[in-house]
């Protein structure tokens, strides 16, 4: 069976059915991972006593395959009476998995803010929460923009993992086409090209965003 280019084009509309979900999963997972990652990091910093506990959680998250975490959530949550749409369970799984990595990004980003900044904030009598919110986080944001951008692409490329719990995303709709037509090469080719296109768009968007962040306030 040879690769049939016109067939690859012909099935694009059917493969594309999943793209909306793919983008949605990527966005939800990115926001979820960033929020949860920041939460881990702030929790890790807040008290010396909780620090090792949070560190253990982060290490555990990062040492287990994302696929296993997603399966686990999908099959275990219903036992506890939590039945959510597969798309949400999957997005939460990806958020959870990537939050472990994001917390390390935020750690490095906060560490890179000079100690003098928190000393100045403290000496002015700002509360801990205000110091984090108005002094540390805005400066951290510039430090983490690049690595967060890179993780947003990783997350996008991990969305096909959700095909295993039957979320109708790009890979899922491509597999549907494949099982209908008994041709795999063309649907997978389409999926690859579509991910390449989305990644390129995302990279361009991130570059724009970084340029804007760099412009609005001078660093150092």
């Amino acid at each position: 069976m040879n690769f049939n280019f016109s067939f690859a084009i012909e099935i694009v509309p059917r493969v594309l059915e999943g793209i909306g979900n793919t983008v949605m999963i990527a966005i939800i997972s990115f926001i979820g991972a960033a929020a949860l990652g920041l939460f881990w990091e702030l929790l890790r910093r807040s008290h010396a006593t909780v620090r090792p506990v949070v560190q253990f959680v982060i290490d555990a998250i990062r040492s287990t395959p994302a696929l296993v975490q997603i399966y686990f959530l999908f099959f275990v949550l219903p036992y506890y009476g939590v039945t959510l749409p597969a798309l949400l369970v999957g997005s939460f799984g990806l958020s959870f998995y990537y939050s472990g990595y994001m917390s390390e990004v935020f750690k490095a980003g906060i560490d890179a803010v000079p100690a003098g900044q928190s000393e100045a904030a403290q000496s002015l009598g700002l509360s801990w929460a205000d110091m984090i919110r108005f002094v540390i986080l805005p400066q951290m944001l510039r430090n983490v923009a690049a690595p967060l951008g890179a993780y947003s692409i990783s997350i996008l490329k991990s969305t096909p993992l959700l095909a295993v719990i039957s979320v109708p995303e790009l890979l899922g709709s491509a597999l549907d086409v494949a099982s209908d037509t008994y041709r795999y090469a063309e649907p997978m080719f389409d999926v690859g090209v579509l991910f390449l296109a989305m990644s390129l768009v995302a990279v361009a968007g991130i570059t724009q965003l970084e340029r804007r962040l760099g412009l609005t306030a001078p660093s150092h």
């Binding site: 000079p114 003098g116 900044q117 000393e119 100045a120 904030a121 403290q122 000496s123 002015l124 009598g125 700002l126 509360s127 801990w128 205000d130 108005f134 002094v135 805005p138 400066q139 510039r142 306030a217 001078p218 660093s219 150092h220």
Partner: protein
């Protein structure tokens, strides 16, 4: 438990009794006794590594002490105490490296704590900020970012930012050491004016001209101890301790 210790501190801004501090096993402060009266201007000097920064940073608990007592503005401070943020609002601090917030304009640097900590309305906070920027003679820079200013200007903004909180006490840790020589005077002038207005000040500085003109008392530190304290006239003319003599010899020649 924050003790109100009016009885033993009288009108002292700062009282230290047998203050000790360690970094790990290294003792930085050895039984430091010091009392600073309200309105008094103190200059702290001594060789590098003698514990001047540590001493000053204990006063607003950027460093905590392990032994002895420390009473600031009538409240005893100790490790892990509650309400520290509130107490710090009455103690201004100016750092060697300015430590302005680079992502905020000069004006927002000054208003942040007024709005968030003092809970003032925005326009009220801006009014106070502009007053203090005028006092340090850079109101026209209010809408610039710190990195657009010279070192001397940045340090004057840092002073204005601290003054906005209407502190009862100002701490300076080598405020001119990071400045180019031609900018030192503009900062010292502002500090001198502040002293004339009656501000209680504790300044770590090696600007001996400033010390002579402004200080009520000079504290000389060596190896974590205060080994001499005297009025400037006495300190500069005939310091008692050999280490102080040696230090002055290096400073003045």
């Amino acid at each position: 438990m924050a003790l109100q210790t009016n009885s033993c501190s009288g009108n002292a801004a700062v009282t230290m009794e047998q203050l000790c501090k360690w970094y790990g096993s290294f003792q930085v402060l050895h039984n430091v006794d010091l009392s600073v009266a309200v309105g008094e201007r103190i200059v702290v000097c001594g060789p590098s590594g003698s514990g001047k920064s540590t001493l000053v940073r204990c006063i607003n608990q950027l460093e905590t002490h392990e032994k002895g007592r420390l009473i600031v503005n009538g409240v005893e401070l100790y490790k892990g105490m509650k309400g520290l943020a509130e107490l710090r609002r009455d103690v201004g601090m100016v750092f060697q490296q300015f430590n302005l917030f680079p992502h905020l304009t000069v004006l927002d640097n000054c208003t942040l704590a007024l709005v968030r900590a003092r809970k003032l309305a925005r326009d009220q906070a801006e009014e106070i900020a502009m007053e203090n920027l005028k006092k340090v003679r850079i109101p026209e820079q209010a809408h610039k970012f710190p990195t657009q200013l010279s070192g001397g200007q940045q340090q004057r903004v840092a002073i204005a930012r601290a003054l906005c909180m209407k502190p009862k006490l100002m701490l300076f840790d080598e405020p001119t050491s990071a400045l180019d020589p031609e900018m030192i005077k503009e900062v010292l002038d502002v500090m001198t004016e502040l002293a004339r207005d009656g501000m209680t000040m504790i300044c770590v500085t090696h600007e001996m001209g400033f010390a002579r003109e402004v200080a009520d008392r000079i504290i000389f530190m060596d190896s974590g101890r205060i080994i001499e304290q005297a009025a400037p006239s006495k300190f500069f003319k005939n310091p008692e301790h050999p280490r102080a003599q040696q230090f002055l010899g290096q400073m003045l020649h």
